[in-house]
Amino acid sequence: MIEIAIHIAFVLVSAALALNAWRLLKGPSAPDRILALDTLYINTIALLVVFGIHIKSMVYFEAALLIALMGFIGTIAMCKYLLRGDIIE
């Protein structure tokens, strides 16, 4: 049963990724793209978690953790750029 759930999850998350990508390419505004990238990061975590359950391995926990961390600070860096241009001032 879990296997089925996992496969459904894969499909859904993949679809989610596709939607993010579409927004990423389409834009139109810079915040749109940043948002799309941010969501891409978070969805990737979902992907990793499902994958982890799928292969019954926890080795990708740190990866997920790091994606969360880097996705966040990446986003704020880009926002800072839009707001101030100079991100370290």
């Binding site: 894969f10 800072k80 001032e89």
Partner: protein, 965 residues
């Protein structure tokens, strides 16, 4: 050893003269005289032996034994004759120059160069090994370059010198090729072997190319047509130099070589045709042009050319008697031509000009000079009773004999006679034109006979002309000896005499003389005739033209080649790679796909891959909107990390993610100062080219990767998996590889990182950038410098991130993680502090200059490596221990961890150094604040001061710096 010494004496003399200049102006002259005489003195005993028919060969010993170059000297008749000429004429010239040179000229330099040349010339004629000979040969070119350009400030001097060097030096290089082949044919570079190997050489397949190369050397040196033109231009040299180099010695070096190698090379049709042909052409052209030269020295130069041609022709004809005649004419020409040069020098010296259009009737003012000149000129013209006549007769005779060998038999004698007519004419001119006729017109100086010091040397030589001319027989033994050694066999019976009966040769001379007088009388007509072609078919002009074009073309090619276009460099590199790689792949054969079982494609991977491709292509397409492109690239980066996850590389995923962020921050920082958009590139054609290149590169790499991925392979990897835990003390094989198996890679890697940090720091050092006041659309920046929410949460983030970093660092050895990733996380967390709270605020809590961090990191890593020496193991050998602490449980302590901590420190240090300093490029505006606490000291350069300040604050609150604890 004698020969070696007498060759070296002039070289030492040269050094001495340079030193002796402080001892007074003429001391150098004395040194020169002494060294010449000393060499003569050393030559004497050996000369006697040679006179008795010996050939002396002295081996100094091996120098480059593997290459068959041993220093060895050889003295036989031929080399004796030349060394005598070199030393005797040299001595005379030295004395002459002592009086000739004006007080302005540096005697020391002159004699140094002259002796340098003398030594090199001796080396040429005395060498047994032809490579050694070649070395001295090129040395003569170099020293003559120095002598010709003696009056450096005169442009024609340095130009003439360069021309001479180019021609003769080039010839020498050709000769190097020739000698290599020759040595190869003879199996040795020693003359004694080569001279015996004549038949082997002549029958060798490369004979003709070898001959050509060597003859190039000969003809350039001896100013044979078409290389003759350098000689007249070398007349910019002081007269003593011309007298020495351009009559007696250097130009004869070519002749010497002809004679020297005669037994080995001569006797083939190639030899005969080329050598005699060139000789006769030179003889004719030389004597013809000489007539039209108004400068005495120029006239003599061309006459020298023509006489050299004569001698060359004789060796070309190549009959034993011809060789005898050649040898004899060498001697005669040396004597009368040297004296003529010196006489011209005297005239120049006394009247201040050498222009025969000004000079006339000097006999009243300088009778002795006139007398000497008349005799010497007569010798050159070949008037009976003088040495010139005797050898010329022999030449004409040979020409007649040789002329019979092909039809029409009158042709060759006719040509030669024509040449003889002109040489008679210019000989008459140089004597009559200068010393007879009306009063000299407006001369720069009032002419009178020179000091005896200048006249006696000439007189000696002229006397020699007369004596030999009247009693040729005295020259017989010398000529016999020389000819013998040149032929390497007993010369045929001959006797030198004035009267041989009414031979055709005699008639030819008579005709020549008569014609000469006639031509001289009608010279004006000839001059006007010549003036029509003047400057059109002049070899010098052609040479200069060639040179000019050579330089022009070269600079065109060069400019075109390195026009500093990065694009070009790159696309050439890519194309080369594609071509070679493609060639290798195709030439090797084999199918594209291997037979390894392939993995199925699951929808998720497909999706990720497609997204990555899309993002990548979008990056390329939208690269002109830079910020967008930047976002897209980060998406690709995320995809890369995912790929690493998918294919079992957690460590790589972590690293990729961390690097991704820091790179993005870097790009953002850069983007702030760079234009927001890339202008469109007009050149569509180039764009198309780039697309083609890109596509091919992509295809190539894709093919390679596909080919490898579908093939099985055996790898050393199992060893690592087997030994990771037992030998490396870590379960995470990748980490063990990084800190242990291949720890040295990591050592280099962190050095690279540190270097990047240092380099960037250095680049930013004086870098000042004005920050744009508004964004690309012209909107002013948002006034809220540090959004509250961000500021607040960034602070909560810090301890968490640090905890995570420690977590990643400590577990790295057994689970995904390690120093590098931990370092990146730490710096990321700290960067967020800068991001959220600003540089100045953060810098008051963190050092902006993290050099020490980098240093300590490297030190830790490297010392961990060296520590293993103490235990007698190689660099970087790791060790680990499982320690059991009561109630805390078991810990593993591995030396590798120390190494990893080193890595950690370097990473933190570098990434902070880079980002913070990059963030502070425009810190100027913040300086006042810092100036306040620096106690009003004027900080410069601004940024450096800012950093020092930062260091101060940090050293103040050192206990706050984790790495200080």
């Amino acid at each position: 050893m004698g020969l070696a010494y007498l060759t070296l004496v002039p070289f030492f003399g040269a050094i001495l003269t340079k030193l002796s200049t402080r001892l007074g102006r003429y001391s150098s002259a004395w040194v020169a005289i002494l060294s010449a005489t000393l060499s003569l003195f050393l030559l004497w005993p050996l000369a006697i032996q040679v006179w008795q028919g010996e050939t002396i060969i002295q081996r100094i010993g091996p120098w480059l034994p593997e290459l068959g170059i041993d220093l060895a000297f050889r003295l036989d008749g031929l080399s004796l004759l030349f060394s005598l000429m070199i030393l005797l004429v040299g001595l005379i010239v030295v004395i002459y120059a002592r009086y000739y040179l004006s007080p302005r000229d540096s005697m020391g330099r002159f004699y140094a160069y002259l002796l340098l040349f003398m030594g090199s010339m001796l080396g040429v004629v005395l060498s047994e090994n032809i490579i050694q000979l070649l070395m001295f040969w090129e040395l003569t070119s170099l020293s003559s370059f120095l002598l010709i350009s003696y009056w450096q400030q005169r442009e024609e001097a340095s130009r003439g010198a360069r021309m001479a060097l180019t021609i003769t030096g080039g010839g020498g290089l050709a000769m190097l090729g020739g000698f290599l082949l020759l040595g190869n044919m003879a199996g040795s570079y020693d003359l004694s072997d080569i001279l015996l190997a004549g038949d082997a050489i002549r029958s060798h397949e490369h004979y003709s190319s070898m001959l050509l190369l060597i003859l190039l050397g000969v003809f350039t040196k001896s100013a044979q047509f078409p290389f003759h033109f350098w000689l007249p231009n070398a007349m910019a040299a002081p007269t003593p130099v011309s007298a020495y180099l351009h009559s007696a010695t250097m130009v004869k070096a070519g002749i010497f070589l002809l004679a020297r190698l005669f037994p080995a090379l001569a006797g083939t049709p190639e030899w005969t045709w080329i050598v005699s042909g060139i000789g006769i052409v030179t003889f004719l052209t030389g004597s013809y042009i000489a007539l039209f030269k108004h400068d005495m020295k120029a006239l003599l130069a061309y006459s020298t050319i023509s006489h050299l041609g004569l001698i060359v022709a004789l060796f070309g004809i190549g009959t034993p008697l011809a060789v005898v005649a050649g040898v004899f004419h060498i001697i005669n020409h040396a004597t009368f031509k040297a004296s003529l040069f010196m006489l011209a020098g005297i005239v120049d010296h006394e009247t201040g000009t050498r222009d025969m259009r000004q000079l006339r009737g000097l006999r009243r003012y300088m009778p002795y000079t006139a007398a000497l000149m008349v005799i010497a000129a007569a010798a050159m013209a070949g008037i009976p009773g003088l040495n010139g006549f005797v050898s010329k007769e022999m030449f004409l005779e040979q020409v007649v004999v040789y002329g019979d060998t092909f039809a029409p038999s009158w042709l060759l004698p006719a040509i030669v006679t024509a040449g003889a007519v002109f040489s008679a004419a210019y000989s008459i001119r140089i004597a009559h034109n200068v010393f007879f006729g009306g009063e000299p017109a407006d001369l720069p100086k009032a002419p009178h006979d020179p000091s005896s010091g200048m006249q006696i040397p000439v007189a000696i030589l002229v006397a020699a002309c007369v004596v030999v001319g009247l009693f040729p027989a005295i020259a017989q033994p010398l000529v016999t000896l020389v000819a013998g050694s040149a032929l390497q066999s007993a010369p045929p019976a001959f006797h030198l005499a004035i009267w041989h009966g009414l031979t055709p040769a005699l008639w030819m001379s008579a005709v020549a003389l008569a014609g000469g007088i006639l031509v001289y009388r009608q010279r004006e007509a000839f001059f006007s005739l010549q003036s029509l072609v003047d400057g059109r078919i002049d070899a010098k002009i052609i040479y200069n033209g060639v040179m000019r074009r050579l330089f022009a073309w070269s600079s065109a090619i060069t400019m075109n080649a390195d026009n500093l276009s990065q694009k070009r460099m790159l696309w050439i590199l890519f194309v080369t790679a594609i071509v070679l790689g493609g060639y290798g792949f195709l030439s090797g054969g084999g199918p594209l796909a291997g037979n390894r079982a392939m993995l199925p494609v699951d929808p998720m991977s497909a999706m990720v891959a497609i997204i990555m491709m899309a993002a990548a292509l979008a990056t390329v397409i939208m690269h002109q909107q830079r910020f967008t492109a930047l976002i897209l690239v980060s998406a690709v980066g995320l995809g890369v990390a995912l790929t690493f996850v998918k294919f079992s590389a957690p460590d790589l995923a972590l690293t990729q993610l961390a690097v991704e962020f820091i790179t993005a921050v870097l790009l953002l920082l850069a983007l702030f100062f760079l234009p927001q958009a890339t202008p469109d590139e007009q050149d569509r054609l180039r764009q198309a080219r780039d697309i083609v290149i890109a596509v091919f590169s992509g295809l190539g790499i894709a093919a390679l990767s596909y080919a490898v991925l579908t093939r099985e392979y055996e790898t050393i990897a199992d060893y690592f998996i087997a030994n990771s835990v037992s030998g490396g003390g870590g379960a995470n094989v990748v980490n063990v590889l990084l800190v242990d198996f291949r720890g040295f890679d990591t050592m280099g890697e962190i050095t690279v990182l540190a270097l990047a940090g240092l380099g960037i720091y250095a680049m930013l050092d004086q870098l000042k950038l004005l920050s744009p006041k508004q964004d690309a659309e012209g909107r002013p920046w948002n006034p809220d410098t540090h959004p509250l929410i961000l500021a607040t949460f960034s602070r909560i983030l810090l301890p968490l991130a640090m905890l995570v970093a420690v977590f990643i660092l400590l577990r790295g050895h057994n689970l995904p993680g390690g120093g590098f990733i931990a370092g990146l996380i730490t710096s990321a967390a700290l960067i967020v502090q800068y991001l959220a709270n600003g540089v100045e605020w953060t810098r008051s809590k963190l050092p902006a200059n993290t050099h020490p961090l980098i240093g300590y990191g490297l030190l830790t890593a490297a010392s961990t490596g060296v520590a293993s020496w103490y235990f007698g193991y190689p660099f970087l050998t790791s060790t680990f221990e499982h320690v059991h602490l009561p109630l805390l449980g078991e810990f593993e302590l591995a030396s590798a961890m120390a190494f990893d901590i080193g890595v950690f420190l370097v990473v933190v240090g570098t990434s902070l150094l880079i980002l913070i300093n990059l963030g502070m490029i425009h810190q100027v505006s913040y300086l006042p604040r810092i100036g306040k606490n620096t106690g009003g000291k004027e900080p410069k350069p601004a940024r450096a001061a800012a950093i020092d300040k930062a260091e101060k604050t940090t050293t103040k609150k050192q206990e706050d710096m984790p790495w200080k604890r």
